[in-house]
């Protein structure tokens, strides 16, 4: 090979501005694609903030956060968010009561007890459950859980046709895969030598699971539960169909309640005219919902990252 003259080589290695115009067009298009998600966020926040601002021009913060009555549609009109928040809380609480123990027990079984082949069969089935549309769960809650389970067991006079518990049970089924799958991942990534150390000290399988694996996977498990909470709080169909549309402060799961999402759907379905206070209340409640789910998601991701740092 002959040695090229430096000047020639400098020229040859030059960036050719126009030789690859396709490249810059493609990069531009890809950047635009990536911008879509940023724009989506800006729009979501923008819409929520703008419309709730109009809402709060007519309804004071004080009323929204300090009143306890949510009665936007008939006199005396009152916008106290707490009845909706309480409805969401009640439904979420009972969903977790069912889903957390069963979900964690499932995770323990898959991670610590099941034969690898059993696990290979069960885990995809479990994850496929996450794909069932929530309107299907809603149908189950209304047409099966309440009339065929709750009312016969607890008495028809005790259990309302629309009740928080039926929604909670189906919500629990909905988040079971989330809790089980993520917790199982967390337990499975606990290092082998931790387990072996405990077995070496004469611990039984149950003791290893409870005393060693569970604490070691705790951050991952917390992340799973937080993600599940975010999903329950944001779920609309199950609560709108099964839990009813009566905003009220109650701790009785046999009564109907209205959640934040349930109220939003109700406004969306009724043709509330644009510019009226009840239409705008949709956005104020939406803002609350957005902030609450965001908080849980951010917290969950924080714990996921913590867990990764610990073990990866």
């Amino acid at each position: 090979m002959t040695v090229a003259d430096p000047g020639d080589m400098n020229e040859a290695l030059k960036k050719r501005q126009f030789s690859r115009p396709g490249e810059s067009v493609i990069l531009f298009v890809l950047t635009l694609c990536a911008a879509v998600s940023l724009v989506t966020t800006v729009l979501i926040v923008g819409v929520l903030v703008r419309e709730s601002a109009t809402f709060f021009e007519q309804v004071s913060f004080k009323e929204f956060f300090l009143e306890t009555e949510w009665q936007p549609l008939f006199e005396p009109i009152s916008f106290g968010i707490w009845e909706l928040v309480a409805g969401t809380l009640l439904v979420t609480f009972w969903a977790l009561v069912f889903a957390v123990p069963i979900g964690l027990a499932t995770a323990v079984y898959l991670s610590e007890y099941a034969h690898p082949n059993t696990r290979k069969v069960l885990k995809p089935i479990l994850e496929a459950l996450a794909g069932v549309p929530t309107v299907v769960y809603a149908y189950f809650a209304l047409t099966f859980i309440t009339p065929d389970l709750l009312r016969p067991v607890f008495g028809a006079d005790q259990v309302n046709v629309f009740n928080a518990l039926s929604a909670s049970i189906m919500l629990a089924v909905m988040i079971l895969p989330t809790i089980a799958s993520i917790s199982e991942d967390a337990m499975a990534s606990v290092p082998r030598d931790l387990r072996e150390a405990a077995y070496g000290l004469g611990a039984t399988r149950l003791e290893v699971t409870i005393r060693v694996v569970f604490p070691a996977a705790l951050t991952g498990i917390i992340a799973a539960i937080l993600l599940a909470i975010a999903r329950v709080v944001g779920e609309t169909m199950i609560v709108a169909i099964a839990a009813g549309s009566t905003p009220q402060l109650t701790v009785n799961p046999f009564e109907g309640v209205q959640t934040m999402t349930g109220f939003m759907l109700q406004v969306g379905l009724g043709d509330a005219a644009r510019g009226t206070v009840d239409y705008q209340s949709l956005f104020a409640v939406g803002m609350m919902l957005f902030l609450i789910t965001l908080a849980f998601n951010v917290a969950a991701h924080f714990f996921v990252r913590r867990f990764r740092e610990e073990y990866e």
């Binding site: 998600s37 027990a105 309107v135 149908y139 969306g268």
Partner: protein
């Protein structure tokens, strides 16, 4: 020697601990089976309730006041067109975003923001996407309660999860393929186009199909933008409209209903006989969702072997 073996047999406290440990297996197994069996049982209930209603007529009839005559036809047309719009708008954008993040993005704060933003967007409740669609597409862009508005709304909703799945697929491609191409003087895009993407496509398709199966069952967001209307025609363009862009677009501007909305409508109907319609519609929807999941699983397994 004999003494030794006696000492190794569990006795007293150890035996009790072992018994508890062995018993715990059945407790954990029971919990696992419980979750799965609840679903199997509900599935069985649905089939029993809905099977009587499931017929060709059910698929081809329009909704009706009479439960036996009411059918799923407009909802199936609606779901078909809505999914088509959602697929064609969301998938290019989602894959483009994933490629940008994994292959082109400068490793700076902008990219970190984009990534965190995507993770958070994926967790935004669907009803919030509903009010976004209502405000931006239906009201602001004047699309009204049309297929287009619905399709765009669902597209925005599934983009984050599709991006995250596609990123995962792109990351699975061995870096040596990319490096090999770049060392041969390929440009960044050439390396992506000819070496990274072909190997990431199965994973991207799997993730995309799962996102679509999420969109196909979505109800709340569509109810928000006003898909809850009584429809007695076939939403979307007709076959003859394919030749005429204006007519095609007009078809996409029609109002619509979809299968999950029909399930909702029949579920909350106070007349008990409509429950069978809801169950039958659930069977149709679940067949679709399961077919998509199966397709995703087949693609994944097929390419894993290669």
């Amino acid at each position: 020697m004999a003494n030794q073996s006696i000492r190794l047999r569990a006795g007293g406290a150890v035996a009790r601990r072992q018994l508890v440990s062995r018993a715990s297996r059945y407790f954990f197994l029971g919990a696992t089976v419980l979750g799965v069996s609840i679903l199997l049982f509900l599935g069985y209930e649905t089939i029993v309730t809905g099977a009587s209603r499931l017929s060709l007529d059910f698929l081809t009839n329009y909704p009706s006041r009479f439960a036996e005559k009411a059918g799923l036809r407009p909802a199936m047309f609606g779901t078909f067109w809505l999914m088509l719009i959602t697929i064609f708008t969301s998938i290019p954008i989602a894959i483009g975003t994933a490629i940008w993040i994994e292959e082109f993005a400068p490793r700076n704060r902008l990219m970190t923001i984009v990534k965190i933003n995507l993770a958070n967007l994926a967790g935004v409740p669907s009803i919030i996407y509903g009010i976004l669609g209502l405000t931006i597409f239906v009201r602001f862009a004047g699309m009204d309660r049309s297929l287009l508005a619905g399709g765009f709304t669902l597209a925005l909703m599934i983009i984050p999860m599709t991006v995250i799945a596609s990123q995962e697929a792109i990351r699975q491609v061995p870096p040596s393929l990319r490096d090999g191409a770049l060392a041969l003087g390929a440009t960044r895009w050439q390396a992506v186009r000819y070496n990274v993407l072909p190997n990431a496509i199965p994973g991207i398709m799997t993730g995309t199909i799962l996102s679509i199966s999420r969109a196909i069952g979505e109800t709340a967001a569509l109810l928000m933008i006003g898909g809850f209307t009584f429809i007695r025609f076939d939403p979307g363009p007709n076959l003859v409209d394919f030749a005429d862009p204006a007519a095609f677009l007009a078809g996409l501007n029609e109002s619509f209903t979809v299968i999950p909305i029909q399930i909702y409508a029949w579920s909350i109907d106070s007349r008990r006989e409509f429950q069978a319609n809801a169950a039958a519609a659930i069977i149709v929807l679940m067949v679709g969702v399961m077919a998509l999941n199966l397709l995703a699983a087949v693609i994944r397994e097929r390419f894993r072997r290669n």
